[in-house]
């Protein structure tokens, strides 16, 4: 069955800025995965593909400044669709935080979860329209 196993945002130093799990893992296992993903992804350069095999799955990732956005999916899933799903997500963050930077994700970590849930749910892509997502986020922002 095809679905996203987890989404990770990490910086070059390996600090996690977001970890969203769509499968049950215990805390030790999560930590191990985070470290492994970091090790696998950071050694790759710009000439490499944005895909890397990972255990029985694959990681689709893209680097933005010092941040790696990684999505773990099944090996037979559509690489480019997830690669652009990452970009779509980043553009929404950028719009929402007005030129997003790493610190925005640190200080507003609880809002980032809301953005993720609007766009991805249960390991599936929930909403792809940036307009619709941003409208919803602004509406929520206005609530107390």
């Amino acid at each position: 069955m095809v679905w996203i196993r987890f989404i990770l945002i990490q910086n070059r130093a390996g600090k996690t800025r977001l970890a969203k799990w769509y499968m049950q893992f215990d805390d030790d296992e999560k930590q191990k995965l985070i470290e492994e993903v970091h090790a696998v992804v950071t050694v790759r350069d710009a000439k490499h593909t944005n895909f890397v095999e990972f255990r029985n799955f694959k990681i689709i990732y893209r680097r933005y400044a010092g941040l790696y956005f990684c999505i773990c999916v099944d090996v037979n899933d559509n690489n480019l669709a997830y690669l652009e799903a990452i970009h779509n997500f980043v553009e929404v963050l950028n719009e929402y935080f007005h030129n997003v930077c790493e610190l925005d994700l640190v200080f507003n970590f609880y809002k980032v979860y809301t953005v993720v849930d609007e766009m991805f749910l249960a390991g599936e892509i929930r909403e792809t329209s940036q307009t619709k997502v941003l409208k919803q986020l602004l509406m929520l922002q206005s609530l107390e």
Binding site: M1, V2, W3, R5, T16, M23, Q24, F25, D26, D27, E29, Q31, L33, R44, H48, T49, F51, V52, E53, R55, N56, F57, N76, N78, N79, L80, A81, L83, E84, A85, H87, N88, F97, L103, D104, V106, F107, N108, F109, Y110, Y113, T114, D117, L121, A122, G123, E124, I125, R126, E127, T128, S129, T131, K132, Q136, M139, L140, Q141, L143, E144
Partner: protein, 978 residues
């Protein structure tokens, strides 16, 4: 601090985060955190009631501390309280805290069910979504039990907001994945399919995911989605680049939705309706056409989105594998990508072409790209791209290009990354064998492999070359000459010594006529390597020496001298010592005739699947087989390359070092059960000897019922490496049953106990008993190796509708199975209604680090729930007549596969479960039986008649039951038994 300046955050939180960031050391951070924890604790415990804002702030701080990696052991109640707030921001933090921490504290779930219920009923879309997201994020069975019934209603309710529908669809999907039994299909399913027509594309996007998941287990219920998906897809791909406004991404209309629709269609065969099919083919063509149009934007986002659809389209075309024109077009398109400047596209094109290569329609088209692919193998910078190139070369290989591909792979091997060397070695070995026109080329290739990458040449590979040389006398002389030459290299790999030693021991005589390779020269060449070799190789060489004594009597004295040397006769290694002693004695006491008999040339090995192929499959894991094991095409290869027929992979590879002479006192442990030690545990628990029987006498019915266990609790996934959710993997999560699964199943139709499966690693035995509609089965898993199995997890899976027909409760077994040990698993089975397919048993474990998986059919067939019924002839005929509708009867006339013995037949029919009625059929040769199949929902009366015709060696079998599928199914099951 950008967040604070925006003025919408919680100031105290921002200050705390800043403090943490400013900490210079880990110690300082811990100190600051402890201070904060003390502060929060005192606030929560204080007399003054906290307002919602403060509570939210502190819970959020706790969450932040948790995310930093610290344990949080309080604050849960405050988080739960936040859920009942009517302020969005407070509720959101409460839900977030619970979603993130729930793993470590599942007790929380019970506390929040009420709050979730209220929010779901609130009619406030924001609150409903928060609650749905929480359920989707947690996705536990408890949640499913509490809410699975409500969510379909919310999903299809006319007045639900679009955003709520989106969340409800995916929430339901998550619950279904976690516990499918809690989400019964119902009238809502038809309405879900119609969400594909929804105006809101976001709703469609979510609904497609849900339908894709549900339809895999219930394809017929969702069949109508095909035409709806096709028309939706057609509208999207034919729309102009800006038509879909919000859903256009870099000039590509709805790329993600298109991809999802195309994936949904891959769950089904091509549409049967000609109009639908025509429309779909048109869509696929449009996508291929658009790929040729100039890009509407130079941005990579544009081309990625467009190509995401293109690759998915190609996947669908390959899935259908029926439109030659589209397949070839797809191939040409991928061919263009092979030289694209984007590494991503080159990678994906190689990957996708690999599957095209296995279609007979596009195989030739793929082959035209061979030079580009070889070039990729040589020049790509990214190892994963090179690996795809190697995969593709392997997939496109056939007799016409095998020599070129093999030699390129060999050349690549010299510089290949260590990570992929072994795989390349296996591939080369397989291709060389499969497409060998003359076997001298094959022998050369394998010896080259050993020369270039000896460390990566596994046992399977060099055993295989020995098998083939042994079996083909036309290549033996060449092989002897070639290994002799190879051994002359000053430094040669130990694997070369092994192969050389074995081959010269068998066929050294074929080159002994040449003075340059006379017997003494052969011997001293081999013996010059002896002392630097490992024990296993030296043992093999000792066997070669004794063979030499037989082949070349002139070497006898020299070799006896070697065997007699203290370093052999008193060798610390018991194996070497034993061989030296035995061989020395044998050569001294046995007459030439005896010697010649004992040391005769090895007989040909039985033809079997190449163990290399099995190894490659294991390396690639389940699912990768299709592109690799091609039983496709090339029937002409049978004579010369018959060895690689894809037959069961259960045979063991003989180890030349262990069994060269068959002289050893005891058979090696893997070959046969031995009488002592670890192997003992494996000696049939199922043999008829009373001592070995576990106490499983007939249980009184009440006790049998009361012992039914509650289902095993849902186990959290321990490892990502296991792709199947532990609780209830769907059939698509496990591999297909092994090829012999049906045959193994058939063995158990008329009996309940026995060995279900056995290979080199594992033995699975079954004991079972059935009463009415209940059954209990004991599975015994025996580890035949001396190494512990890890992550051992056998699971029972119900494909298709089976879970509504048969309930199987399993108990977990220990995740480790020690070498030589056996574990037992108990299954409680309840037949709910009649069923046709048996459940699957999926066994996964790690053996020596390599994942193993195996899928069998569990020997539970409908006849197990037979209750024999005795009746008089008169009653029988009356009932026989009552069941006279044509669809109630199933009949088969078939040839006897076994000797026709009345007693055996009787035993089989009784084992099948029916009563045997004497004096009913006027012809005493015939058999007549009756019984009732007991299921929870209904009982099915069955009558059967079997008419043997000894002269024609045929049977006629007739079944009459009140249910048509049951008649047919029983007839099929039983007919295979005679």
């Amino acid at each position: 601090m950008p967040a604070v300046s925006k003025g919408d955050g919680m100031r105290g939180l921002a200050v705390f985060i800043s403090d943490i960031r400013n900490c210079k050391s880990k110690e300082a951070e811990i100190k600051r955190i402890n201070k904060e924890l003390a502060n929060i604790r005192s606030k929560f415990k204080g007399d003054k009631a906290l307002d919602g804002y403060s509570k939210k702030k502190y819970v959020c701080k706790l969450l932040f501390i948790f995310l930093l990696g610290h344990d949080i052991d309080f604050g849960h109640m405050e988080a739960v309280n936040l859920l009942s707030s009517n302020k969005y921001t407070e509720k959101q933090i409460g839900y977030l805290f619970i979603s993130v921490l729930v793993n470590s504290n599942s007790e929380l779930i019970r506390l929040i069910n009420n709050a979730i219920k209220n929010d779901l009923a609130s009619r406030n879309p924001t609150f409903m979504c928060l609650a749905l997201h929480c359920i989707a994020n947690v996705g536990s069975r408890e949640m499913g039990e509490a809410f699975a019934a409500d969510i379909p209603r919310i999903l299809v309710a006319g007045d639900s907001m679009d955003s709520v529908k989106q969340s409800a669809a995916l929430c339901l999907l998550r619950l279904y994945k976690a516990s499918p039994d809690l989400v019964p299909m119902g009238e809502w399913t038809a309405r879900v399919v119609h969400l594909l027509n929804d105006q809101h594309m976001g709703v469609v996007t979510a609904a497609v995911s849900l339908i894709t998941c549900l339809c895999k287990k219930n394809p017929d219920d969702f069949k109508t989605c095909i035409s709806l998906a096709v028309s939706r897809l057609s509208r999207i791909v034919s729309s102009a680049s800006t038509d879909l406004q919000d859903y256009t991404y870099y000039f590509v209309p709805a790329p993600w939705l298109s991809v999802k629709l195309l994936r949904l269609l891959q769950c089904y065969p091509p549409p049967e309706d000609a109009a639908v099919k025509g429309r779909l083919v048109e869509c696929l063509e449009t996508v291929l056409n658009k790929a040729q149009e100039p890009p509407k934007s130079k941005k990579v986002q544009h081309s990625n989105a467009k190509n995401a659809i293109l690759f998915e389209t190609i996947s669908l075309i390959i899935h259908y594998d029926s439109e030659p024109n589209l397949l070839v077009r797809a191939c040409n398109q991928l061919g263009q990508f092979l030289q694209h400047r984007e590494t991503n596209l080159r990678y994906l094109a190689l990957e996708s072409m690999c599957t095209l290569a296995s279609s007979e329609f596009s195989h030739e088209a793929v082959k035209t790209h061979i030079d580009t692919v070889i070039n990729a193998l040589k020049t790509e910078r990214d190892v994963s791209v090179r690996q795809r190139a190697a995969d593709l070369l392997y997939a496109m290989c056939d007799r016409s290009n095998a020599k070129q591909i093999v030699s390129e792979m060999l050349r690549y091997l010299e510089t290949a990354d260590y990570a992929i060397r072994e795989e390349i070695v296996l591939k080369v070995a397989i291709l060389a064998e499969k497409y060998a026109v003359d076997y001298s080329w094959y022998v050369d290739t394998i010896l080259n492999l050993i020369r270039i990458a000896g460390d990566y040449v596994s046992e399977e590979v060099w055993y295989r070359v020995l098998q083939i040389v042994t079996n083909r006398d036309d290549v033996q002389g060449y092989a002897a000459k070639t290994v002799f030459e190879a051994l002359q290299a000053p430094a040669c790999h130990e694997n070369m010594v092994k192969v050389g030693g074995y081959i010269l021991g068998e066929f050294g005589n074929l080159i002994a006529g040449d003075p340059r390779s006379s017997p003494p020269v052969q011997f001293s060449l081999l013996h010059s390597k002896f002392h630097l070799c490992s024990v296993a190789t030296r043992a093999l060489l000792l066997s070669t020496y004794i063979k030499f004594i037989n082949l070349f009597p002139e070497t006898k004295a020299t070799i006896q001298g070697v065997l007699r040397a203290g370093s052999q006769l008193r060798n610390a290694d018991v194996e070497l010592q034993q061989r030296a002693v035995e061989y020395l004695t044998l050569s001294s006491v046995a007459s030439t005739d005896v010697l010649a008999t004992v040391l005769e040339e090895m007989p040909p090995f039985p033809e079997r699947e190449s163990s290399i192929l099995a190894k490659l499959k294991r390396k690639k894991g389940p699912g990768a087989g299709s592109a690799l094991d091609d039983g496709r095409r090339d029937p002409s290869s049978n004579d010369i390359n018959g060895g690689v027929e894809p037959t069961p992979s259960t045979v063991s590879t003989p180890s030349p070092s262990a069994d060269l002479l068959g002289l050893r006192a005891a058979p090696p442990p893997a070959a046969a059960p031995v009488t002592s030690g670890a192997g003992n545990l494996l000696v049939d628990v199922f043999s008829d000897g009373p001592a070995a029987q576990p106490s499983l006498g007939p249980t009184p019915e009440e006790a049998f019922l009361s012992e039914l266990e509650p289902p095993a609790p849902e186990s959290p996934m321990a490892l990502l490496a296991d792709p199947a959710p532990a609780a209830d993997p769907g059939p698509e999560d496990i591999g297909p049953p092994i090829p012999e699964a049906d045959e193994l199943l058939n063995k158990f139709v008329c009996k309940n106990n026995g060995v279900l499966f056995e290979n080199q690693l594992l033995q699975i035995g079954v004991k079972s008993e059935f009463r009415q509609n209940l059954g209990r089965m004991y599975l015994f898993y025996g580890n035949k190796t001396s190494v512990q199995f890890q992550n051992f997890s056998p699971t029972v899976v119900h494909p298709g509708d089976l879970q509504t027909q048969l309930a199987v409760q399993t108990k977990r077994v220990a995740a480790q199975v020690d070498g030589g040990a056996q574990v037992q698993q108990v299954l409680n089975i309840e037949c709910l209604r009649d069923f046709l397919t048996p459940p699957l048993l999926s066994v996964r474990f790690r053996y020596g680090g390599a994942p193993q998986s195996l899928t069998l059919k569990l020997p539970v067939t409908i006849n197990k729930f037979f209750q024999p019924t005795e009746m008089a002839a008169q009653d029988f005929f009356q009932r026989w007549k009552q069941l006279s509708l044509p669809q109630q009867e199933a009949q088969k006339i078939f040839k006897a596969n076994h000797p026709m013995d009345a007693e055996v037949t009787k035993a089989k029919l009784l084992g099948f479960g029916s009563a045997l009625l004497d004096n009913v059929d006027p012809n005493p040769e015939n058999f007549v039986g009756a019984g009732i199949i007991q299921t929870k929902a209904l009982q099915v009366g069955c009558l059967l008649r079997l008419e043997p015709n000894a002269q024609a060696q045929m049977y006629r079998l007739t079944l009459r039951t009140s249910k048509e599928p049951v008649s047919r199914h029983l007839c099929e099951l039983l007919a295979q038994q005679f």
